[in-house]
Amino acid sequence: MHLLTVGWLTQLIIGVAYWMFPKYSKARPRGSERLGWATYALLNLGLALRAAGEPLMAAQPGANAGWLLAASAVLQMLAAWAFVANTWARVKSR
C-alpha cells in the first residue's frame, strides 16, 4: 500500500514538481539541487527500510525489526520536509 502511495504516486509528484514548477531564480531554477537529491535518498532509503522491516516485524516482533521501522519513519519524515522546503518558494505568482 505505501510502496504505491509513497513510492509511486508521491514520488512521481515530487519528480514532476521538481521538473515543471515555476523557476526559483534564473541562476538556480530548481532551488537547491542538493536538497532535491536529499529528498530522493531519504524517501527511498526510508521506504526500503519499511519494506524490509514490516515483514520482519510481522514474522518475529522484536527490537531489531522495530528499529528498522523507527529509522524508516524518521527518514521519510525528513524527506517530506526537505521537499516542502525546496518547493515552497517555487510555488509563487510571477
Binding site: 516485524m57 524508516s72 524518521v74 521519510q76 516542502v84 505568482s93
Partner: protein, 136 residues
C-alpha cells in the same frame, strides 16, 4: 501561477509535511513503542495525505494549468475557492472527528469532501476543452 493556485498548492504541501509526520509517529511507535494513543492519529494521517495532499494538489495544479477562457479567464473562481475551503473543512472534520471519536464530525466531513469534489468538477468541467488560438 495565479495566487489562488499558489495558496492551494502550498496548503497541499503543508498537508504532505504534517501527514508524513503523523505517519512517521505511528510507524515509529509500531517499531519502537512510544504511546498506544498514537494509533488514534491514523484517520487524520489518511485524510491529510489522500485528500489534503493528493486531491488538493491536483485541484491547485488543475486550476493553474487547464485551458482558460478568452485568453486569461479561469471561469468561476469563487466556485473553485469554495471547493478548496470545503475540502479542507472536510479533511479536518473526518480527521479530527476520527481522532476524537465524534461520529457526527466524520459524517459531516465526508459530506463536505463530496461537495468539494462536486464543486471543483463543476468549476473545471467547461475548462476541459481543446485549446484554441481564437478568442473563445
Amino acid at each position: 501561477m495565479p495566487r489562488f493556485a499558489v495558496w492551494t498548492v502550498r496548503a497541499a504541501l503543508l498537508h504532505l509535511g504534517v501527514g508524513f509526520t503523523l505517519g512517521a509517529l505511528i510507524l515509529f511507535h509500531k517499531g519502537a513503542p512510544l504511546d498506544p494513543a498514537l494509533w488514534r492519529l491514523l484517520p487524520l494521517h489518511v485524510e491529510m495525505l489522500l485528500a489534503g495532499w493528493m486531491a488538493q494538489l491536483a485541484m491547485g495544479v488543475a486550476f493553474w494549468i487547464l485551458p482558460r477562457f478568452r485568453g486569461t479567464e479561469r471561469g468561476n473562481v469563487r466556485l473553485a475557492a469554495l471547493a478548496v475551503v470545503t475540502l479542507n473543512v472536510g479533511v479536518l472534520g473526518v480527521g479530527v472527528g476520527g481522532l476524537a471519536g465524534w461520529d457526527a464530525a466524520v459524517l459531516l466531513g465526508r459530506v463536505a469532501e463530496l461537495l468539494a469534489a462536486g464543486m471543483f468538477a463543476a468549476h473545471a468541467w467547461p475548462r476541459v476543452k481543446p485549446v484554441s488560438t481564437s478568442t473563445q
